[in-house]
């Protein structure tokens, strides 16, 4: 069985084609369509991915204008009936601005855009984006963003509800300040909603799914996509 995913192309998305490439040519079991944000209809899809980029230039605030796109209304239907709604990088920013996910993403504390490979520690392995991982796995994956400093005024609740899915760590899984590239609260890199079908995080799994692109020839990015497939399969069966 193949699952059907939509990758939304907002005005200004720029990892849309990269994500489509990985979904259709690298990982198994997925058939993905690139869908212009004004034309998206949720009923055709098992899940939706909001890709990275600069939707509407990230003008005013990363993700805010895109959060008002008709695509988000469609995605809300999917959110409510438990289908995966996933955001990478700009997609994560959009999901927080649309209030699908708690918290906000602020400017990196260095005030600079940062493009580099980081390590990510898995904190919750039951979500739509992490069920193929083990807790405390450390994954190699790149980030590329200027507004990725995660902030919430509700940290306790997130912790209690197990909504923190990924944190930036060292290669050995330590949550140090040096391992935190952007000043995120408690090294938080990604979070989920209570139902765990909506997950967003700052890194770019589509850039970490082929050995040739990875400094250490890892393909950890694939785990994220496989998790989406698995989540859909479990949901359906």
């Amino acid at each position: 069985m193949t699952v059907k995913l939509a990758v939304i192309q907002f005005a200004g998305s720029n990892c849309d084609l990269d994500t489509i490439h990985v979904l259709n040519n690298v990982v198994d079991g997925i058939e993905a369509d690139l869908v212009w944000h004004n034309l998206f209809k949720e009923s055709k899809y098992d899940g939706v991915i909001l890709p990275g980029g600069f939707a509407f230039g990230d003008y005013l605030r990363a993700g805010i204008i895109a959060a008002h796109s008709p695509a988000i209304d469609e995605a809300r239907v999917m959110l409510d009936d438990g289908r995966p709604v996933i955001g990478f990088c700009n997609g994560f920013q959009i999901l927080t601005e649309a209030q699908f996910l708690p918290g906000a993403l602020l400017r990196n504390d260095s005030l600079k855009f940062i493009c580099k490979w980081v390590n990510l520690k898995v904190e919750n392995n039951t979500t739509a984006l992490s069920n193929k991982m083990n807790i405390r796995d450390v994954l190699a994956i790149p980030i590329a963003h200027a507004e990725g400093r995660y902030y919430t005024d509700n940290l306790k609740e997130l912790e209690e509800n197990n909504q923190i899915v990924f944190r930036y760590s060292t290669e050995n899984g330590e949550l140090t300040k040096e391992a935190n590239p952007n000043g995120s609260l408690e090294n938080i890199a990604g979070v989920c909603n209570l139902e765990q079908n909506c997950v967003g995080f700052m890194p770019h799994p589509e850039r970490a799914s082929e050995a040739i692109l990875s400094p250490k020839r890892t393909t950890h990015g694939i785990l994220f996509f496989n998790s989406i497939v698995e989540f859909i399969k479990r949901r359906i069966s």
Partner: protein, 89 residues
């Protein structure tokens, strides 16, 4: 009903808990470059000047307030909104 043109000026500033790296950096630069040690605090924010049609100043202000809330022009998790000024334009 006669509609006129108004200008509403607003600022969006990070709440203290969300920090303000821009302000902090300017302040740090100031101290580093000396000569400006009389400056003891800098806060930064976003400024928007909005021109709109409304019947009066009160309505202009109301519209902007509603718009900012409904469309989340400011993010209530991290920011405060201040309406600085409403004037005829």
């Amino acid at each position: 009903m006669n509609r006129q043109e108004f200008q509403v000026e607003i600022t969006l500033m990070n709440k203290p808990a969300a920090r303000d790296p821009v302000g902090e950096t300017i302040q740090k630069d100031l101290l580093a470059k000396k000569g400006y040690d009389m400056v003891f605090n800098v806060r930064s924010g976003q400024f928007l000047s909005i021109n709109l049609k409304a019947t009066d100043e009160n309505e202009a202000k109301k519209i902007v307030e509603k718009m900012c809330n409904d469309l989340r022009i400011f993010n209530p998790v991290t920011q405060n909104l201040t309406i600085l000024k409403v004037s005829k334009s």
